[in-house]
Subunit: 222 residues, 2 copies
């Protein structure tokens, strides 16, 4: 394969990746800050608001990187709008407990996903992704709040376990759909589509495994 | 009146003022970021999102000041929750045009209000309010976007003029209700309730006048 073609494929991969991250962070910001309003206390409203603001910061970082590559962020995001909107529409939290759980699941799976694709990336893009992955503090805050919530009201466990399964199911279904359509990783693998499919499967399996581990840590059946 | 009593009244005034500002900014953040989702373009979504994030920054500033005074921000905000929520519930934007207009009206009236109470405040509180009043850039951005929107679709004028009148009417009604209940300025005036009522009336009149001026600048009948 000529080097020019390889570069073009790599660039498309990076633009797609940054596009999906940007739109994901923008949507997470909007949904989380709307959900914040239903928090039981003003303290919790401020907590979710702060997390939402951090997501907006990530969105801006990724847009800046796209602009630096001479790419229009809107164009880069457009192919992912439908599936990400569909994910959110299909997983509208019924109350604040479900919002908090959704924030945690989306946050941690995104983190895992960013980590698992980082090894395919050049140093510059890696460092943008690393900045977006400042989320460890956020996940820790969310996990602590969820722990407390489940301790206060153990009856929530079974409902939230079910909700966690739905969230991860919807997230991975939409991700698979996007991945297939955008031929995720295909251009980068010497083994082509088959090898790419294998890599994608590995990523998906590891996202699911880590998710289950986190649910267990919360005392929920994954 | 003994100095201790005067201090206590002044402190209550400041805590009330910071409480209403904090809750106002938190609510504006939540409403604006939820509305952002209905923007016609991703560019506009990012624009409203950025404004919302600035409001959250103001909320945090004011909370930090309250904490510095040894005050619980939640307690300070609580007396204003009902009226501010009522304002937002009674002025739900029907679409993105109305959201943008609402953001502009709320933003500029808040700015005016902050400016008009600043002269009653000590230097420290004044400087917090001044930091919250970084909004001039925001108002300019909103005004420019509204101008463009009205130029693109002149038929919007009459609807938005009406909407602007409703917004300011609701805002001032709720403000008056809060002001009466919290005995706004009363403790600070040598002339007591009567003098305070006069000052409040002057503030209200100037808010209305400035609002009308801004509507005219947009080519709308106020």
């Amino acid at each position: 394969m000529p080097a020019g073609e390889l570069n073009a494929r790599y660039d498309k991969f990076v633009v797609d990746l940054l596009g999906v991250i940007a739109y994901g962070e923008l949507s997470a910001f909007e949904r989380l800050s709307s959900d914040a309003r239903y928090s039981p206390t003003l303290h919790d409203r401020a907590l979710l608001g702060k997390l939402a603001v951090a997501e907006f910061g990530h969105f801006e970082l990724v847009c800046a990187r796209l602009a630096g590559m001479g790419m229009d962020a809107e164009l880069a995001m457009a192919p992912f709008q439908r599936e990400i909107d569909a994910f959110h529409d299909r997983t509208r939290p019924a109350d604040w407990y479900e919002s908090l759980m959704k924030a945690y699941v989306v946050d941690t799976i995104s983190e895992d996903f960013y980590a698992s694709v980082s090894r395919f990336l050049d140093a510059d893009t890696q460092s943008v992704i690393a900045e977006v992955r400042t989320g460890e503090t956020e996940s820790t805050v969310l996990a602590a709040r969820l722990h407390q919530m489940l301790a206060d009201d153990p009856k929530l466990s079974s409902r939230l376990a079910l909700w966690g399964r739905r969230l991860v199911g919807e997230a991975l279904t939409q991700a698979q759909r996007v991945g297939r359509r955008q031929r995720f990783l295909v251009g980068l693998m010497p083994g082509g589509a088959e090898q790419a499919a294998g890599e994608v499967e590995k990523i998906m399996a590891s996202l699911t495994r880590n998710h289950s581990k986190r649910m267990s840590q919360l005392g929920l059946t994954a």
